[in-house]
């Protein structure tokens, strides 16, 4: 069949459904049939699944003209999705087309939720299309005969590539692709990405460094400009609106009329804890919502999540309180309204959420923004501008993630084994490892075979062995099993299953939360009040309770930093305030806070850098306001604290938010010495930052996921209880041991590098310092906490830095006693 004939098959099918294909879909079909690789830039709900699934089927028809009578076995394509929740949706769409054409093609799903028997079935006979996650694909590479299984592949589609790109799962994908390129000679590689600032780079990362793949590829952009309208919910009484906080509950009544006025509303929160609380409070204040209000977040049991998703489609729900678990993929036509609670911190995320509402062509998607504290209104004002100016952020890919590489190498050693000479060029061709040196490569091989760099006498280290032919192979079944279990470990706090005593799975919660409780204590989770009955083998067994409790389940982490694009706009909004323009409704509403700030300090203008100092019972506070976003403040606070600590012995506790940072000490800090010593200097920035990293705990925390991914810490697996107590250690302990005994270990060094490249963003810090050095520094000695300082000084998540001797410090400290 000729290409035009194939395409008319697809066109006919579209017509039979009374749909019309979009130009980007046709473009993608053609490019695919011509054998090209590529990246498709298309938003959710635009028909992107059909853009790529259709040509995969057409290719099959082309190669098998007798497809109606004879089905040729073997896997044709893999569809990667970052979220398990999306797989059903894709399966249904794909199956519809395959069936209507009478191809007899099968579509299977393989994720962490897939049952053992289904997996075994798939192993015997792969479906034509396999929908799976990066982790499950890795697991397939860890099983024997994967090279034969994947030989027939014609395509791999990586959906939501922008989500994977800036994470280590993206690196996992790069490595898997590097192997598939070799074992599947007919492979086409395609990615689908929402709009990000660095689309071209995203394409390069996906395809790797081989010039052939790059040359033979296209970037297709779907032209679909949807209008988005942002409406802020402005409190009627600003005087009583709090200066800090992150829940936003006091504005609860404001959203009730919005919910009642529309068909289905998604209420997006930023954390799972916030989600639980909003759900609870809405029901408490408005019992009439019972039965029509649901909750959706990543820790709730899959069945419940699927039920909620289905209920949205059936239009049987009035509103859903959700987290980012509903950000992606699944298209919910009935959703009319979206409410965002608290700052979304990034423009892309905000746009994606806004896009979940109202898909009627020509009409704008409306998103309401509910601020959780006063200064967040400033963010609302900034967001509106960002949306208008179409600002988009970059996703930075990881480079030289040795932890993922080590995991991958052991994966290959677990299945078929590998020859170093064959794998090295493949690795070198990935974007992530393009810069790997021969020396680093050998280090990794030594690490998995010797557990160090030199053979020590009588060492019993055992992981990967090398046969006389040079094949790297895992022989021990136990090590193979432990490795397979750890591939899927998404790095998080230890999770515990929550189950009813009578059976029935409710969801997972972090271990630290449950460990604070005794049997008989009650807590609210997944919208239910539960009583803890007992803890048994990584399971919290509970029963329903009628007691009232304020103890709502909470989750660590999940604080998102402001992107650099957002912080710039935010700064500009703030500075327009210094000129008293107050030209948006949000800024007008903030008047009295700005007035108060000006009474007690100032609102810094474009050329001003504000520093406030004051004393409270807690000690001496020094607050700096660069308005550069959390990450830059994190870096700048430890840099500054480090430089000050060189002048004289002092101890700091550091706090930061998106507006500024605090150095808190038990000693008076003379800001003049900072200025006199030129401590905001850009000179020796790299060195000083590196040293300040040693002094704080940032790298130590980064080391946690490195230790887990590279297999140094075995966490066990949430639903499989294995006796591993004697093998449990924590990454903190390991970090110390490496620091003391093996400081040149690449994984240990990687913790520092990652903190540098992905968290501290040295480049952004340098620019910020340059800016500060051009500004006029205004030091205000205030009487008490100012409105701007309040959210920072009350933050409890803190970093510490000290140049004092511990022995001196403990003399001024007191022992924490039982209350």
């Amino acid at each position: 069949m000729k290409q035009s004939e194939l395409i008319s098959i697809a066109e006919d099918w579209f017509q039979s459904k009374e749909w019309k294909s979009f130009p980007f879909q046709k473009q993608t079909w053609k490019a695919f049939l011509e054998g090209k690789h590529g990246l498709l830039n298309a938003p959710t709900g635009s028909g992107k699944t059909y853009a790529l699934w259709i040509p995969i089927v057409l290719q099959y028809l082309k190669e098998n003209p007798d497809y109606k009578t004879k089905h040729r076995k073997g896997i044709k394509a893999i569809w990667i999705t970052p979220l398990r929740a999306l797989s059903v949706e894709i399966q249904q769409a794909a199956q519809r087309f395959a069936d209507d054409l009478g191809t007899g093609m099968t579509i299977g799903i393989r994720t962490g939720d897939t049952s053992q028997s289904d997996r075994a079935k798939q192993k015997r006979q792969m479906p034509d299309l396999l929908i799976t996650t990066p982790e499950s694909l890795m697991l397939l590479l860890a099983s024997k005969g994967y090279d034969k299984t994947f030989k027939t592949l014609t395509a791999i589609v990586v959906d939501e590539w922008h989500e994977l790109l800036g994470s280590k799962r993206g690196v996992q994908m790069e490595l898997a692709l590097s192997r598939l390129k070799t074992v599947s000679p007919k492979l086409r590689i395609w990615g689908i990405s929402a709009t990000i600032g660095n689309l071209e780079e995203a394409q390069d990362v996906l395809l790797g460094m081989d010039p052939e793949f790059r040359k033979n590829s296209v970037l297709i952009k779907a032209k679909q400009k949807s209008k988005i309208e942002v409406r802020s919910i402005i409190p009627k009484k600003m005087e009583t609106f709090p200066w800090r906080g992150h829940l936003g509950i006091h504005l609860l009544e404001e959203i009730v009329p919005i919910i009642k006025a529309s068909k289905t509303t998604i209420i997006f929160t930023n954390t799972r804890g916030q989600c639980e609380i909003w759900f609870q409070k809405l029901l408490e204040k408005h019992p009439e919502f019972a039965g029509e209000l649901a909750m959706h977040h990543g820790s709730i049991a899959k069945d419940t999540r699927l039920w909620v998703e289905q209920a949205i489609r059936n239009e049987s729900l009035l509103a859903v309180v959700a987290t980012s678990s509903l950000d992606l993929g699944v298209d919910f036509a009935p959703v009319e309204t979206v409410i965002q609670i608290g700052g979304p911190k990034g423009v892309a995320k905000f746009l994606q959420r806004a896009g979940r509402s109202n898909h009627r062509p020509g009409e704008a998607s409306v998103i309401y923004f509910l601020p959780t504290h006063a200064l967040e209104l400033l963010e609302a004002s900034a967001l509106k501008r960002a949306v208008k100016e179409e600002v988009v952020e970059d996703r930075t890919p990881y480079l030289l993630s040795f932890d993922v590489l080590i995991q991958y190498l052991v994966t290959l050693a677990v299945s078929e084994g590998f020859f170093a000479t064959e794998i090295f060029p493949e690795i070198k061709n990935t974007f992530c490892f393009q810069g790997i040196t021969e020396e680093q490569w050998n280090w990794c091989l030594n690490f998995i075979t010797l557990g160090s760099q030199s053979l020590q006498a009588y060492d019993e280290y055992k992981k990967v062995e090398v046969t006389p032919e040079g094949l790297f192979k895992v022989e021990s079944r136990r090590i193979a099993m432990m490795h397979r279990l750890s591939i899927g470990t998404i790095v998080s706090d230890s999770m515990m299953l929550v189950k009813y005593v009578s059976g029935g799975f409710i969801g997972t919660i972090e271990e630290w939360f449950i460990s604070k409780m005794k049997p008989g204590d009650t807590f609210v989770f997944a919208g239910r009040t539960l009583e803890l009955v007992r803890l048994r083998q990584m399971q919290a067994q509970v029963r329903k309770s009628n007691k009232r409790t304020r103890n709502i389940v909470s989750f660590m982490g999940g604080r998102l930093p402001l992107s650099s694009q957002m912080s710039k706009i935010l700064r500009e909004e703030m500075q327009s305030e210094a000129d008293h323009k107050r030209n948006t409704p949000e800024l007008k509403a903030l008047s009295h806070i700005f007035d108060r700030q000006e009474r007690e300090s100032i609102v810094p203008g474009e050329n001003e850098f504000l520093i406030e100092t004051f004393k409270t019972r807690e000690g001496y506070h020094s607050i700096f306001y660069p308005f550069e976003g959390r990450f830059v403040h994190e870096a700048m606070s430890s840099l500054l604290a480090y430089r000050i600590s060189l002048l004289s012995p002092i101890t700091f506790s550091l706090a930061y938010n998106d507006y500024g940072f605090e150095l808190l000490s038990d000693q008076f800090l003379d800001i003049q010495t900072i200025l006199d010593n030129n401590l905001f200097s850009e000179e020796y920035l790299y060195d000083d930052l590196q040293k300040s990293l040693n002094a704080t705990e940032l790298a130590r925390r980064k080391f946690r996921d490195i230790a887990v991914i590279s297999g140094m810490v075995f966490q066990g697996y949430p639903n499989k209880f294995i006796k591993t107590k004697h093998l449990q250690s924590n990454s903190q302990l390991l970090f110390d041991v490496f620091r003391d005994y093996e400081p040149n270990n690449l994984l240990y060094l990687q913790a520092y590098r990652e903190t540098f490249e992905h968290q501290l963003e040295e480049g952004r810090l340098r620019l910020a310092l340059e800016r500060i050095n051009k500004q006029e520094i205004i030091w205000k000695q205030c009487q008490k906490a100012t409105p701007f300082s309040f959210p920072i000084i009350t933050d409890r998540l803190r970093e510490k830095l000290s140049s004092e001797k511990l022995a001196d410090r403990i003399k001024r400290m007191t022992l924490l006693l039982e209350k």
Binding site: D666, M813, L815
Partner: protein, 212 residues
């Protein structure tokens, strides 16, 4: 170092985590967890092998310092089954001039006869001059108890939101729990009551941080 008196007997708390009982010329050491590093390596977790040697260096240092008649390990001397570190232990026992005894802990699964072959006597518990030596902390009214097992640590708080976690000797009215001696062990944070005495280990020194 810190000298304390319990029931008119004299004890020295050493920053390594060991206690020297002067009247008995006995060195008490808890939770060394020998073999842990090698055990981890054997199961594919590449903890730096050199970390294993430091335990022996530390043991030698502290025995040379006090020159005791007896070294008494309060349990969890070995973390696991027999492995390479046993050979190093053998050498250390041979080198050590003092008599070595072990109060068995939950991790001590190496058969007793192997210890006995080295001349190391193994007990479940030991009564000595009105003192009761065990691995698990045991509260008795009539006797003072020395134990380990918990790996005790405490939290300190200071002005300016300062917090510190430190390993410690933890003494209540009738018992004293020793910190873990081994270098690849963790600590468990306790919240003392006002009556408890806490001796924290800070940069090679022992400080009393409680009011008592």
């Amino acid at each position: 170092m810190k000298k304390i008196q319990i029931n008119t007997q004299n004890f020295t708390l050493h920053p390594s985590g060991a206690i020297y009982w002067e009247d008995q010329k006995m060195l008490l050491i808890a939770d060394v967890h020998l073999g842990k590093v090698v055990h981890f390596r054997k199961y594919g977790a590449p903890v730096p092998a050199t970390a294993a040697y430091q335990n022996f260096e530390k043991l030698t240092e502290v025995t040379n310092h006090f020159e005791p008649d007896t070294v008494c390990f309060l349990g969890d001397l070995f973390h696991s089954k027999l492995n390479e570190e046993w050979n190093d232990f053998e050498k250390w026992v041979e080198y050590c001039k003092a008599k070595v005894i072990l109060i068995s802990g939950n991790h001590d699964i190496i058969p007793n006869y192997l210890y006995e072959d080295l001349g190391v006597n193994v007990f479940d518990e030991l009564l000595l001059d009105g003192f009761y030596l065990t691995h698990h902390p045991t509260e008795l009214e009539e006797m003072f108890n020395f134990s380990g097992h918990i790996h005790p640590g405490i939290r300190m708080k200071g002005v300016g939101r300062q917090f510190l976690r430190l390993p410690c000797f933890y003494k209540t009215e009738n018992q004293l729990i020793l910190p873990a001696f081994g270098n690849f062990t963790g600590k468990h944070i306790l919240t003392p009551s006002e009556k408890d005495e806490v001796y924290a280990i800070v940069e090679g020194e022992v400080f009393c941080v409680s009011k008592n």
